[in-house]
């Protein structure tokens, strides 16, 4: 018989927020430490593999708005990637503006910016672009599933690992 249990809104909020900020932390909060560790390792590995393939411009809110939104679901990772991209963008834009001034207006800022990216070997081109953005974006979407799962588990009051049936022992965490 189902019992009426008050909804634990702070726990739902904490599980969801932790799962967003640090992938896997929501599950650790719910007492599912090994699951949280696995999620942390693989979501981070996927996101940073994407950044390793595509470089600093993998997270690019100016050119890849929707993919950037997906990447932001990795929380701290996505935010760090965005911050690094913003700094690299500002540095490249500064160089491009200097170049426009030196050319006496012959170059447009956009042209100069593209040249700076190519010269500094920061320009993201196919196929590295596709792979990098897919890896990091899918990492974000996977973490969205984890956020929803952590919030639902908290709403159901499912703290800790489920008990194994008789005759089966779960490995100790």
């Amino acid at each position: 018989m189902a019992r009426n249990r008050p909804t634990d809104y702070p726990a739902i909020l904490a599980a969801g927020a932790l799962a967003w900020i640090i992938p896997g932390a929501g599950h650790v909060f719910l007492g599912r430490k090994l699951r949280g560790l696995i999620l942390f390792v693989f979501i981070n590995a996927l996101f940073w593999s994407g950044v390793a393939i595509g470089g600093v411009f993998t997270v690019n809110p100016r050119q890849q708005r929707w993919w950037c939104a997906a990447q932001m679901f990795t929380g701290a990772c996505g935010t760090a990637g965005w911050y690094r991209q913003t700094r690299a963008h500002a540095a490249a834009l500064g160089k491009a503006r200097e170049r426009v001034t030196q050319s006496g207006g012959e170059l447009s800022t956009e042209q100069a910016y593209k040249e700076v990216l190519v010269e500094d070997k920061l320009s993201l081109v196919y196929p590295a672009e596709t792979v990098a953005i897919a890896y990091s974006g899918i990492a974000g979407m996977l973490n969205l599933i984890c956020i929803i799962d952590a919030a639902f588990l908290a709403a159901m009051g499912a703290f800790g690992e489920p008990r194994p049936p008789k005759g089966r022992q779960e490995p100790a965490e």
Binding site: I43, G55, K121, P162
Partner: protein, 73 residues
């Protein structure tokens, strides 16, 4: 090349990096099954099954689209 430099500049991955879909599918299978399996003991087998399904499914889909593109369109 330092680790930080690796995260700044894009790397060369060849012109046809189809093989890179396999680690992506593995990561998807691991994360999905980690939150779906009831008992963690079942995780490795469930991950392998899902990874196999996705890899074979994509291969079949690729072959079907290739045949469609070459012979029908």
């Amino acid at each position: 090349m330092s680790f930080l430099a690796l995260l700044v500049h894009p790397i060369q991955i060849g012109h046809d990096p189809v093989y890179l879909v396999l680690p992506l599918l593995a990561a998807v299978a691991i994360v999905y099954k980690t939150i779906r399996v009831k008992y963690l003991r079942d995780l490795p087998v469930q991950v392998l099954i899902l990874w196999g399904y996705m890899a074979i499914g994509l291969a079949v889909l690729t072959a079907a689209l290739y045949v469609l593109g070459e012979h029908v369109a």
